[in-house]
């Protein structure tokens, strides 16, 4: 993503803030705005931004109030919370510009009909970085049919996954199960990010959408973001058993992290993934480590 595009992305993210907070967000200089990854709005706490992995307090004096947090939500949903309720029940929503809002609130009955008492909102600035992972792609698209992308939160797993989807879809049928609207950020059916010729099924749970995509779109590669539980793993294993390549992302700083979690252990042992790409971000510099995986790894 070019500098102007990054600034534009920051601008659309900052527009979700009420005027007083918006002004505080613009206290970042141009370079910081271009590198801004997150804006955190916490009730009665200083507004903060994450720039190149570091927290920057935007203004000590300006502390978001209850009404301002509600306004952030209203702006993100075009004052129509009901259209985003399914996402909100899972603690996030993706705006029409592809920014993801993580939301903390008091949900009285678990599957609340309304969000009460917002306590913090984390705006993750959507960024598409073209040409990312080019050196990985050089390994050949066929080689990327069964790849697991690993990384810590915010390392850039989704950004890499999106780019790989875009590149692979030039020659292959790629279907994307985009549960959290992060890969393609579809709004009214149109992807906000460049995901090439992918077929995208957004919003549904992976355990449901993966078999649907498999049946209806006959993909050669199926891509999905952040596999988190056993249901997701089972759906992926079923998918791999049908001869479809897999491209998935998971939280973890390395293979050791995955092996400690039973759900992932099963998927690693099955040998579905041939390799893992570990995304490392240090001091704002992103690097990749490619590791071969074998069955029973």
């Amino acid at each position: 993503m070019q500098e102007p595009d990054r600034l534009k992305s920051f601008h659309t993210a900052a527009q979700l803030l009420p005027e007083r907070l918006w002004r505080a967000a613009y206290s970042l200089n141009e370079e910081q705005r271009a590198q801004c990854e997150e804006i955190r709005v916490r009730l009665d706490r200083p507004l903060a931004a994450t720039v190149e992995g570091k927290t920057v307090l935007l203004s000590e004096g300006i502390r978001p109030q209850r009404g301002e947090l509600d306004e952030v939500l209203a702006r993100a949903t075009e004052a129509s919370v009901h259209t985003y309720l399914e996402q909100l029940r899972r603690g996030f929503l993706t705006t029409k510009h592809g920014h993801r809002l993580g939301i903390c609130s008091h949900a009285p009955d678990g599957a609340s009909r309304v969000l009460r008492g917002l306590s913090s909102v984390n705006i993750r600035v959507a960024r598409q970085i073209g040409g990312l992972g080019s050196e990985l792609i050089l390994c050949g698209p066929e080689g990327f049919r069964n790849t697991l992308i690993l990384g810590e939160p915010g390392a850039g797993k989704t950004t890499l996954l999106r780019e790989l989807c875009r590149r692979l879809s030039a020659d292959m049928r790629v279907a994307v199960a985009d549960e959290r609207y992060e890969i393609a950020a579809c709004a009214d059916g149109a992807p906000r990010f460049h995901v090439g010729n992918c077929d995208v099924l957004s919003g549904g749970r992976k355990a449901e959408t993966i078999p649907m995509l498999l049946r209806s779109m006959s993909p050669q590669v199926l891509a999905t973001d952040e596999i988190t539980d056993e249901e997701d793993c089972r759906a992926l294993l079923a998918c791999a058993g049908c001869g479809c390549g897999l491209l998935a992302a998971a939280h973890g700083s390395g293979l050791g992290d995955l092996r400690r979690r039973p759900a992932y252990r099963q998927i690693l042992e099955s040998g579905v993934f041939r390799q893992a790409v570990i995304v490392i971000q240090e001091k704002g510099v992103r690097s990749y480590r490619l590791t071969a995986l074998s069955a029973g790894a």
Binding site: A74, R75, A79, V81, T83, R113
Partner: protein
């Protein structure tokens, strides 16, 4: 000639009586439109989960008496302002221009719920507000019928007196 003049005076009296009830008739029409709007909104939000900017923009097309404030509401909600703020213009129009403060209050109460709750709750709130407006409309209709008769009788009588004097 005199007879024609007298007849014209009688007709003018009748018309003047009818014209005096114009404001009341407009109030009835506004309340009717507003109630119908809320009924459609309940359906749009409850069944189709349509976002508010689209709801207001569509309603501006089919609610001619309140088109301007609804267009403002559509614009404001699209910019992300909560429905409470977006519908302020509509409330002001109802209260100040149309002389319907009770209707304005019903809309203001509804606007606090619009866009902030699930579709079912909003649809219920719309129907409840519609009920309030229908009651207000019935009151105004009754008032219109009563005053209409009175104004017409008075104006017709005045016309008749003038006609007699002219004869």
């Amino acid at each position: 000639m005199r007879l024609t003049g007298a007849l014209l005076l009688l007709a003018a009296g009748w018309e003047a009586g009818t014209a005096l009830t114009g404001a009341l008739r407009r109030k009835c029409a506004v309340l009717r439109e507003l109630a119908a709007l809320l009924s459609r909104m309940a359906e749009e939000i409850g069944q189709r989960e349509t976002p508010l900017p689209q709801v207001f923009a569509r309603e501006a097309e089919c609610t001619p008496l309140l088109a301007a404030p609804l267009r403002v509401a559509a614009k404001k909600t699209a910019a992300g302002l909560p429905a409470g703020q977006a519908l302020q213009t509509l409330c002001e129009t109802l209260s100040l221009r149309e002389g319907l403060p009770q209707a304005a209050r019903a809309v203001a109460e509804l606007s606090a719920l619009l866009g902030a709750y699930d579709a079912e709750t909003q649809a219920r709130a719309c129907r409840s507000a519609e009920g309030v407006l229908r009651t207000l409309e019935q009151e105004q209709e009754r008032l219109l019928a009563e005053k209409g008769r009175l104004y017409r009788a008075l104006a017709f009588s005045a016309g008749a007196i003038l006609a007699l004097l002219a004869l």
